[in-house]
Symmetry: C2
Subunit: 330 residues, 2 copies
């Protein structure tokens, strides 16, 4: 199997590439070649049993995608996107990368022709949904996003489904929950606090909580998010029918539940590193976000969430801290 990962330098792309190198299989078959593509040079994981190439390219530039698919990869993971903060701040850049880039890639696949019909796994997001919500958002709930990022993802979902229906490709859209705990530095995304209130205390640092503890949200660990992408590459198209985009199962947790999980894993000391600083702007943004889903179709198709938020915390400690909880500042 030839694999193409577009957006391979991002957090999820990097973890997906590492996992593919470690497993050596995708969709039940051996990986024979992997191309990692991004606008900055993606790291090539070491120790691969197959050739791995890193390509610097921008699929949002017309003509670029044709070169990426000319070798007819069997599985295409499309993760490249500007995130919600940037898509809101820079309208044209958001539509260019998130909509046009995806369209160029899908059109390039379509134009290969000659029976070429790869599995295309598209990283969508629960940002395709916008308030008001029912208590649990079902698989047939409308997509009425309240961000340009969510709008672009929802538009691409439609395109992916149409191109799949018409036989140009075999698409699966996975609506990822908010990934938590994101490794790395704090960022200024409105959702950043969901990770930082766990990550910083585990690293022995202080964190700021800008919302009330009753705020509920929908989470998956980075490890499970990679599982979703790999499972999406493997499922039978017949089971999907024409509805190609699936809300992934997740862990529905309140901020209070997140903090309780942190306490359970790391103790009171860690929890004391969270400082409450209510921020009206962030509270207003977060109020439009979904907190709970009934992701029945994805569960029936074999997608599996983290067990609970405590597991999400433990995944961070295992995968990012080598099992050791930080002591700086304690």
């Amino acid at each position: 199997m030839r694999v193409l990962v577009v957006g391979a330098a991002g957090m999820l792309g990097r973890k997906l590439a590492e996992r593919l190198v470690r497993d050596g299989v995708v969709a039940g078959a051996h990986v024979s070649h992997m191309s990692l593509v991004d606008v900055v040079e993606p790291a090539c994981p070491s120790g691969a049993a197959f050739p791995v190439e890193a390509v610097v390219a921008d699929v949002a530039e017309a003509g670029v995608a044709a070169g990426l698919v000319s070798s007819r990869p069997d599985v295409v993971f499309h993760l490249a996107a500007v995130l919600s903060g940037e898509a809101e701040a820079d309208l044209e850049q958001g539509y260019r990368v998130n909509l046009d880039g995806t369209r160029f890639l899908l059109d390039a696949v379509r134009r290969v022709g000659s029976g070429y019909r790869p599995r295309v796994v598209f990283a969508s997001s629960i940002a395709v949904f916008g308030a008001p919500f029912p208590e649990a958002i079902g698989d047939d709930y409308c997509t009425t996003p309240l961000t340009s990022y969510g709008t672009q993802k929802a538009m691409c979902e439609l395109l992916l489904s149409d191109y799949s229906r018409r036989g140009f490709l075999d698409g699966v859209g996975v609506r990822l929950p908010t990934i938590c705990v994101r490794p790395g530095q704090p960022n200024r995304a409105a959702s950043g606090f969901f990770s930082s209130i766990i990550r910083e205390p585990l690293n022995g640092e202080a964190a700021v909580l800008p919302v009330h503890e009753e705020v509920r949200h929908w989470f998956a660990s980075p490890r499970v998010a990679v599982d979703f992408l790999l499972h999406a590459a493997a499922i039978e198209s017949a089971a999907l029918g024409d509805r190609r985009c699936l809300t992934m199962p997740g862990v529905s947790a309140t901020v209070a539940g997140q903090i309780a999980a942190l306490q359970s894993v790391a103790g009171d000391e860690a929890v004391r590193r969270i400082r409450r600083e209510p921020d009206e702007t962030i509270m207003r943004i977060v109020a439009g976000w979904p907190g709970n889903f009934d992701a029945r179709r994805a569960l029936e198709l074999g997608f599996r969430a983290d067990a609970d938020f405590e597991e999400i915390v433990r995944v961070y400690v295992e995968d990012e801290l080598g099992g050791r909880i930080g002591v700086a500042g304690s």
Copy 2:
């Protein structure tokens, strides 16, 4: 009020232009100027109390839309589209006209800037929905189209809502029911029979019915469809919130109900002109179409459907036949 109608040479555009000339008002204010735009020259209705200009232009060509909105029309009706048959037969033309054309138009409005924020009424379609369906499709049901036409309309709905949310324009998307009875010649659209089994008998001609009489569908007369567009131009944005696209109320009727209405208006003679010729292909296509909606939001916002299918038949007789039922061939 300056009015721009894009797609003014189509059936609905022509009727909308005639109505605006007759009424002289839009959104509760006098019309001061009207531009009628299409890729073929639109007819200018006579007797207007304000200047009417016909413009031949293709909004799907980059740069064209900027010229159309430079005079800052207060209300923009965007009806231009290639229909479902053509969008399915010619993929690139469908995406070019239906998606790119709409995006060019909305971007041109956005780029005027300086506080310009016109009401943009976008003609969407119930084709944004695709089977399987609940018994009545509610306002929060997912849009999972089963045609490229429906896909393009759903993508444009998302764009319209995002641009409205961001304050670039003040959009309202109206998901039109199947327009029935369409005047003019029979066409080869899969949905053509819904009109032709009424129109041809009323014109004294024979018609073919390719599906079973139990098939249920969602209808509006051309007159009511124009009412929808005008009402959409008039409603307050505050009442809409962020969900800018509305399923229009319609008449849910089976083919048997259509035929009973024809009989009631035009007698047994007319009904005998319908010949049953089941067509497996058309039956399969029609099975994916919606038959019934719960269009609560649009009703609450004051949109009104035809009373029943008999009224739909009478509208055709009044508006297209001058009140006289045809006798040719009888």
